[in-house]
């Protein structure tokens, strides 16, 4: 029989913060990101003084200077485009009760990171669902390695998805499983690895996302902060060595410091694992930092597709007004 002192603490009695959880210090090159997130560098363009009216021309100059600064820092060189695109959307249209996507086309080559930006409700997340074959287009095709996945059966689609990793907006970790079981899930489902091999792989992926396996593996997702949940989500997506990573608003709802860490992590994946990534984001700053190409969705179709440099130098009024909020 347990005495009152021996009983396990109730959930409501546990501390809200995570005093015992320390995150692995980020690698040395992370400091640039972290410092920039909190301090303004001397070469960084000065933020407009509130209350000071700016002419449109002056605002465009300010935005371009800010973007140039972003592009100078921490970006991977352009991956070489060769062979078939890994992912291709060809003239994709989709409507439910109203149009969602209208003649959307773009290609992602091996190792590229395509960031899809646009206003809310323009169908950005729908693109991810089409690539995952959770939805099929009314018109056009979604090609993965040249194969039209919209014509696959449900079982074939499940197999294709095993080569993809997805990071959800809210992390979508299984709350009935521990962090270890969450990351191990795709390995248990689709591989014949022994338990010790699974544990080694889980530790490796948790290290990759800068989490200390010994401290987080046995915790439940509810005990993690938002940023840590996102990182566990990335670790789970990575566990089965996917060729393609999809991110749905990976930095939404996070503080600037954690946003910078997650952005760094996505860049690290691009550099070290050469994973082809599609990122849906509202965060233009992160988008410019990680994108090989940016796709701007507006009025259900892509109004711009090109490099961040091309986007920054575009004189298109909509693009400039979109970047104006940056």
């Amino acid at each position: 029989m347990t005495t009152p002192d021996e009983r396990e603490p109730l959930a409501s009695e546990l501390p809200v913060s995570e005093p015992n959880i320390t995150e692995t210090p980020p690698p040395a090159d992370d400091t640039t990101i972290d410092r920039r997130s909190t301090e303004r560098r001397s070469d960084e363009p000065e933020a407009p003084t509130s209350g000071t009216p700016q002419t449109p021309r002056r605002q465009v100059r300010r935005v371009r200077a800010a973007i140039r600064h972003e592009l100078d820092v921490d970006r991977e060189s352009e991956p070489v485009q060769e062979g078939l695109p890994v992912i291709e959307l060809r003239d994709v249209s989709l409507a439910f009760e109203r149009p969602i996507l209208d003649s959307v086309s773009f290609q992602a080559y091996g190792g590229e990171t395509i960031v899809v930006v646009g206003e809310s409700g323009t169908g950005k997340s729908t693109i991810l669902k089409l690539i995952l074959r959770l939805l099929t287009p009314d018109h056009g095709g979604v090609f993965v390695h040249g194969r039209d996945i919209s014509k696959l059966s449900f079982e074939e689609a499940l197999q294709i998805r095993q080569h993809m990793g997805m990071v959800f907006q809210g992390a979508a970790l299984f709350d009935s499983l521990s962090v270890f079981e969450n990351v191990a899930y795709p390995l248990r489902e689709h591989t014949m690895l022994a338990d010790d091999e699974i544990e080694a792989r889980v530790r490796e992926t948790l290290h990759f996302v800068d989490l200390d396996p010994d401290q987080v593996m046995e915790l439940s997702p509810a005990e993690l902060s938002g940023g840590m949940q996102k990182r566990v989500g990335i670790a789970r997506g990575l566990a089965a060595n996917p060729e393609i990573m999809l991110y749905d608003e990976p930095t939404s709802g996070l503080d600037p410091l954690t946003t910078a860490t997650i952005t760094h992590l996505i860049l690290k994946l691009q550099r070290e694992l050469h994973v082809t990534s599609i990122v849906v984001s509202h965060d233009i700053r992160s988008a410019f930092r990680m994108a090989s190409k940016v796709a701007l969705l507006s009025q259900h179709h892509i109004t711009f597709f090109g490099t961040p440099e091309e986007m920054a130098s575009s004189d298109d009024r909509y693009i400039q007004s979109f970047l104006g909020g940056y």
């Binding site: 995952l132 959770l134 449900f154 499940l158 197999q159 998805r161 095993q162 993809m164 997805m166 959800f168 907006q169 809210g170 979508a172 970790l173 299984f174 709350d175 899930y185 795709p186 489902e189 689709h190 089965a240």
Partner: protein, 268 residues
Amino acid sequence: MTIVQRLNARAKAKIHSLQEAFVLAGHALRFIFARPFYWQDLVQQMDAIGVQSLGIVVLTGFFTGMVLALQSAVQMRRFGATTYVGSLVSASMIRELGPVLAGLMVAGRVGSGIAAQLGSMRVTQQIDALNVMGTDPIKKLVTPRVLAALIMLPALTVINDLAGILGGSLIAKVYVQLPVSLYWSTVWDQISNGGFLFTIIPNDFVHGLFKPFVFGGIISLTACHYGLRTTGGTEGVGISTTRTVVAASILILVVDYFITQTLLAVLG
């Protein structure tokens, strides 16, 4: 939108929902025989649906048996027929009250739990995450729950019946002053007089075990159907839970009538 158009849209939505429920049932039952088997999930669900429902099932069965014996003794005393209290309690419990009460209790306790759990998983994108990781959510989440309910509800009903007959025995002894042996012999007389299927299976047991088997399917499939269709955040989870308990309870009572009618026609 005119009233006719609105009615038309609602009718279509209801029929579509019914169609989805049947498709879900078909997939869930088909996956019982398809690899991979989620044994661990099945055992977990058998524990959640069966073992953890034992308390309320025993309690409701015991008190229902007691009140049944008490009420029937009051009425039968007028005709000097109190010796038949055991027959009445066993017939009522085994054929009707045991399966229906166990079904309603499990619908309230387990059905709501399943709907809330799957609904939360739906609104927090955990179901999408399963899909993305190449796992069929029906195979992983629905089939183990349906199979566990199909196995555990008949087992719970047997326990409920026993608890009810024991409760009746207590009242027969204390209130009616009926010898325990006489009570139990009338219980057996009732069972044997009901006839046998294939000369060894009492018809009462066929009634009493077939019904909870069907009710298990109704509860688990209704809960999974509403849970997986949840939309609208936490409010949606609440709505799905309420709908599950209401729909499963009504279905149990309606289906019970038709099963009874059919079994009486077939078995007599």
